[in-house]
């Protein structure tokens, strides 16, 4: 007979919830959902041991437990603190927490290059969302930001160490999903950086591509989709493929434009975490529409920039010219492709390995 588990009663922002012992405050808040969920940059529910690095999920514990009602002296990281019976937590109701979160965002952005116009992650970046929602526009940092050279780690993954916030998610991913971790954190403190030891390639295992999905910023990006298009001009589509890898779920999101597949990612939930991990074959090599069974358009949150231009129930207007001209077809319609240099039907950007370069575009009147 299964023993009846005692549930802990917790109050988060005065909303009561009953959770099992051992649950963290963050997960208890996610059971409530909505605005009381603290943001998290390093915690990832699918990766064991993640969390406790970024401090964005700081909350105030105003009552420790039923047995010991004293408040905790400092703000605690909610992803690493387990609940106690009768605990009372303040997240958005505490001005102290919101103020601390502003400070944390400023800390995270200390060395961040803010090259969002160049970065491929822009539009789906956790740090971008976080700083828009919680941050302040100014910084008090007066020193040079630390910079690193861009690195190709493997054929498919690009590392921009300058953008990294050292959340360790990719290290946990490589540890837990692949059997041979090739990269890690070198150095300590302000000098720490993600790197492979002397330019090793990451492509030796079939699941390393997931580090791209878990990266909350644009530090690890997909080289096959690098600079091809902005995320908000692509259409996310749920797709399915029968993958031979037993660990791969085959459920992905295709980022399409017309019939071209620019990028394949795993499906992410509302907390920006993948629903299930996918293998590198699905991610990097299957870029033909006939490889996939398309399930339908992906639901995108209304406030996301990715939802722009994606209308529901679109009715394409009928061509009326022939109707008003007694069935005659127009003779002088301009085909945009005869003039336009952009989106030429003969050039498939998604077919180019890696980012496009100046030699991929023919010169036109001596200008690129």
């Amino acid at each position: 007979m299964a023993e009846e588990k005692k549930l802990f009663k917790v109050k988060i922002d005065n909303i009561p919830v009953e959770v099992e012992p051992g649950t963290t405050i963050l997960n208890a808040a996610r059971m409530i959902g909505g605005d009381v969920v603290p943001p998290a940059m390093c915690y990832y529910s699918k990766l064991q041991g993640s969390g406790g690095k970024c401090r964005t999920c700081l909350v105030k514990v105003s009552k420790g437990s039923e047995a010991d009602p004293r408040p905790m002296p400092k703000l605690v990281a909610s992803c690493r603190t387990t609940v106690m019976d009768g605990m009372e937590v303040a997240n958005i109701t505490s001005p102290e927490v919101l103020d601390a979160r502003k400070g944390v965002v400023e800390f995270l952005l200390l060395n961040h290059p803010l090259d969002c116009p160049v970065c491929d992650q822009a539009g789906e970046c956790d740090l971008q969302d976080l700083s828009y929602e919680h941050g302040v526009s100014g910084t008090r940092f007066e020193f040079k930001r630390r910079t690193f050279e861009k690195e190709d780690i493997g054929e498919h993954i690009k590392l921009h160490m300058t953008r990294c916030i050292l959340c360790y998610r990719c290290v946990f991913t490589a540890d837990q999903l692949t059997n041979n971790r090739q990269h890690g954190i070198l150095g300590r403190g302000d000098h720490s950086e993600i790197s492979t030891y002397i330019k090793a390639s990451l492509d030796q295992t079939n699941f390393i591509g997931n580090v791209i999905d878990v990266c909350p910023v644009g530090a690890l990006t997909d080289r096959t989709a690098r600079f091809k298009n902005r995320v908000w001009f692509l259409k996310p589509v749920d797709a399915l493929r029968e993958c031979h890898d037993p660990n791969c779920c085959g459920k992905t999101v295709l980022w399409m434009r017309g019939d071209e597949i620019f990028r394949v990612t795993a499906r992410k939930d509302k907390y920006g975490e993948v629903e299930a991990f996918i293998c590198d074959t699905c991610r990097f090599e299957k870029k033909e529409p006939q490889d996939w069974v398309i399930e339908g358009p992906r639901k995108v949150a209304r406030y996301s920039v990715i939802s722009q231009g994606h209308y529901v129930g679109v009715h394409k207007p009928h061509e009326t010219v022939a109707k008003v001209m007694d069935g005659r077809q127009p003779k002088l319609l301009m085909n945009i492709h005869t003039v336009s240099e952009v989106n030429q039907p003969t050039v498939d950007l998604s077919k180019i390995e890696g980012p496009a370069h100046s030699n991929d575009f023919p010169k036109h009147n001596g200008v690129q």
Partner: protein
């Protein structure tokens, strides 16, 4: 019927007298009004030779700007295209190769950049959205043309000339 104003004058329908039938005083009166306009300030300007001053907020034809070293500022971030209510702007991005640092300011640049001037409504949102100060609207009108295809403005139409590396146009 109640009138809206008290300025209405009933039409005089009496038959014209002989003096009135000669129309001479009426013609003289009309010519007087016409000739008096010679001495008044003209409402028009001789357009190509003379232009009216633009308002400081006038939004005309776009240009793509370069930085002080003559490098293209645009990084093809797509913010002008996403801000454009008429969806007139399209672009294709490319990565800067080693050795092209004197041409492009950032590691990514717009290899293709087009504005469809038939679609553009000159609202200026692109100028406002640009994070790199790359696109500006000038005090120039889009020139008229008979062919629609001449209204698709590419990078060779939009980019300002580079003072350091003059472009040789060979059409």
């Amino acid at each position: 019927m109640q009138t809206l104003t008290n300025r209405a004058i009933p039409v005089d329908r009496r038959p014209m007298t002989f003096w009135e039938k000669m129309y001479l005083p009426a013609i003289a009166k009309g010519m007087g009004i016409t000739l008096s306009h010679i001495f008044k300030k003209k409402a028009t300007v001789n357009y190509p030779e003379e232009t009216r001053p633009f308002s400081p907020v006038f939004r005309g034809l776009h240009i793509l700007n370069r930085d002080e070293e003559g490098r293209e500022r645009c990084t093809a971030c797509g913010l002008c295209a996403v801000a454009c209510p008429a969806e007139a702007i399209t672009m294709e991005a490319a990565e800067r190769l080693p050795g092209e640092e004197h041409l492009y300011r950032e590691e990514k640049y717009a290899a293709r950049y087009e504005i469809n001037m038939l679609r553009c409504i000159f609202c200026g949102f692109c100028e406002e959205a640009c994070p790199k100060e790359a696109i500006y609207m000038t005090e120039t009108f889009a020139p008229s043309n008979y062919a629609r295809k001449s209204f698709i403005y590419g990078k060779d139409d939009l980019l300002i000339p580079d003072p350091k590396h003059p472009i040789t146009v060979n059409k």
